[in-house]
Symmetry: C2
Subunit: 425 residues, 2 copies
């Protein structure tokens, strides 16, 4: 890995693929088609692109049961424990509204209600992602979302990965549809004859899924469009080079555009990590992907002081941040921008990807400056309530009417004053 002196113009930002004109045209066509023709269009696109002709889109109870039965019980236990941990962490985020009494019997309030229905897209392809199911479904359940739907593409034989069905089953989610790509997003957004539309769509996907989510945004809510994964490690001379290298590679193996950065005050560690990364790369099954990521978006920066290192991290605003130093908590206190923080030697980043309980859906590409990881608030909405008594109205109506007229909005002023027009009751 390249070792460089830390300077102030550090940046994680990559030019991300936004989709080309042709892809966008295709997506718009699919969306319009599914909106007009419903299930038939979804099935036709599944046949065209996924090579599978389906009679019914909905996964049956029997398919789910068979999937669970086919799994290693140890894995079921691991997924169940992970779900419990995720629920425990997210339950702290649940909250009530409030009611604020004012004078004369008046009050203001904030009501919290759950979004009624949410659709989770789980990508298909070569691998299965049961962890995505846990990370998206549990916060929605904690929020109180009544209807949770999963859409995920099946293989050419109409089969879904057992691990995905098992994860859904562990959480009690049984409304699962075999569909992928833009047609799945369209079906979730607009609804079809057999699928009721949802209010919000979450979950990662390929460029067609991402473009479709952008297009239906407004009609329904979406989570953020996730970019390639990132890890930044703050480490001093107490860190173990092989562990830091392994953690950098854990993110690099995700994507050739993944980003892995070490920022350290130790020249010796910088050199040792660089050597370890090369050594460990050579035995990785996903070496080609990880090597590209390391070559293009991997870097080791050496800073003079820990203050300079932390400043650099706040500029980067990385998705994942590990702090592997003598006193990691003190350094954490100075960190302002990061999606998720992992403290100390034993909090390797994959701990959070799968198991600890925190969410792995996190802001990428420096958006941790203003965005947060997926959380319970993403599945609720807040409604304000005003109750004014006659006395409060009488006291404040002249002020409100003045402010409305200041903005040239006479009908606003008259509405407030209307309660005073020679009324008898």
């Amino acid at each position: 890995m390249k070792i460089q002196q830390l300077t102030a113009d550090i940046s994680l930002k990559r030019q991300l693929e936004g989709g080309n004109e042709e892809q966008l045209r295709t997506v718009r066509e699919v969306l319009a088609d599914v909106k007009a023709k419903g299930d038939a269009a979804v099935k036709a696109y599944s046949e065209k692109w996924d090579g599978v002709a389906l009679d019914t889109l909905r996964v049956t109870a029997q398919e789910i049961d068979e999937a669970v039965a086919s799994m290693d019980p140890q894995i079921i236990a691991d997924l169940t424990e992970a779900a419990t941990n995720i629920r425990y962490y997210h339950e702290q985020q649940k909250r009530d509204g409030y009611k604020l009494p004012l004078a004369d019997g008046s009050w203001l309030a904030q009501r919290i209600t759950a979004i009624a229905s949410v659709g989770l897209y789980v990508p298909g392809g070569s691998a299965a992602y049961p962890s995505s199911v846990l990370m998206n479904v549990v916060p929605a359940q904690v929020a109180g979302v009544e209807r949770i739907v999963i859409a995920t593409p099946c293989d050419k034989d109409g089969k879904l990965p057992a691990a995905v069905l098992a994860a859904a089953s562990i959480l009690g989610v049984t409304e699962i549809y075999k569909m992928g790509g833009a047609q799945a997003i369209a079906a979730l957004a607009y609804g079809t004859e057999t699928i009721d539309g949802v209010d919000k769509i979450t979950g990662p996907g390929n460029i067609f899924v991402a473009l479709a989510k952008r297009e239906v945004f407004g009609e329904v809510a979406i989570d953020m469009i996730a970019g390639p994964s990132e890890i930044a490690v703050i480490a001093d001379e107490t860190a173990h080079a092989d562990e830091v290298a392994a953690d950098l590679l854990s993110q690099a193996e995700h994507d050739p555009m993944a980003c892995a950065v070490l920022v350290t005050t130790s020249d010796a560690l910088a050199k040792a990590v660089s050597d370890e990364v090369e050594k460990q790369l050579q035995t990785l099954p996903r070496e080609a992907i990880a090597r590209k990521a390391i070559e293009n978006y991997g870097a080791i920066y050496v800073g003079e002081t820990m203050t300079q290192v932390v400043d650099a991290i706040n500029t980067l605003a990385p998705e994942h941040l590990e702090i592997v130093t003598k006193n990691p908590e003190a350094i954490m206190e100075q960190v302002k921008n990061a999606g998720a923080i992992f403290l100390g030697r034993y909090s390797s980043e994959p701990v959070g990807d799968y198991f600890a309980g925190t969410n792995h859906v996190l802001p990428t590409n420096s958006t941790a400056r203003f965005a947060s990881g997926l959380n319970v608030d993403d599945f609720i909405k807040r409604t304000s309530v005003v109750y004014y008594s006659e006395q409060t109205w009488q006291e404040n109506a002249p002020k409100i009417a003045r402010l409305a007229r200041l903005e040239g909005l006479e009908a606003h002023a008259r509405a407030v004053e209307s309660r005073g027009w020679n009324k008898e009751d």
Copy 2:
């Protein structure tokens, strides 16, 4: 106003202007230009479109002082009281993170930090909108945002509305720039020689501002793109027709595309409100705008039962909802989707636009199904923290490694296991 029988296919949704290709091209050009040339480009566009040649963009302390001095002291008092009310309501939304102890000294946490810098766009034109300043700035201040900037276009003499400067001054906001349109959004997003870029941009604007906000989204955060205003009123036979009509018109006067809907169980009220709307329209200064809105997007629906009425409201998910019935609170409990609710005869909707303390930046076009009004959470971010002790790591590493391998991510598994490789310390 048209009176119709309430049916299940009620809808508020309008085809909103998304901007045409030429407008988008212009906006992209402006953004690129400001990114490349900074202040000079901002000034050039202000000269081109607003007809004003500015030496400096920043408003001086003297200009602010003069604006405040020029205002009616009663208005200053009204704005100050409104700001106090808004602060009181929003302060209840402030919250701390949490720390969750696990076994063996491990813990998880959620940290809450404020977004560092926020830019508020205040539209110019014929009217001044000091209430926009209060509604956007106060939640950001409550959240703890350190730097709050206002951008607003000046007139041909380089002057800004005194009411806007006064509202800013009341809140202690002094970093104000004379700039409007897409060039203002560009300057806020990218920064220039004299203006530091911000992390989030909020506030309403014309189609160029809306398009520019969409374009810079991702680089910075934005609030939602607001659509035309909406009001829905639930009323029974106890409501006063003139008051309901006045409230419907208060939203209709905003925009020819504004929406004003009464849903009632009373035929008599329906008829009386329809007559009152026509009567009151005739004396409104903004009659032309309000009449267009009422003709195109105004409607009175008569339902059989209050349950049917409430179901219709949950489908509409209106921005503003008034409940003017015998027992409004009981009906409120059944409402799931609304941006803001106003209860009873004396809680006329403009009470919330200006004064009560709730926010007037609210979700439109049925997005209250999944979105909320502007609130303190819009100005904070949440960071998760994982601290695993050696013992917790040791106990859970095999489970995490199994789950990583289940997803085909070997480097993840190795990272977690790396702590176990023949280590001495």
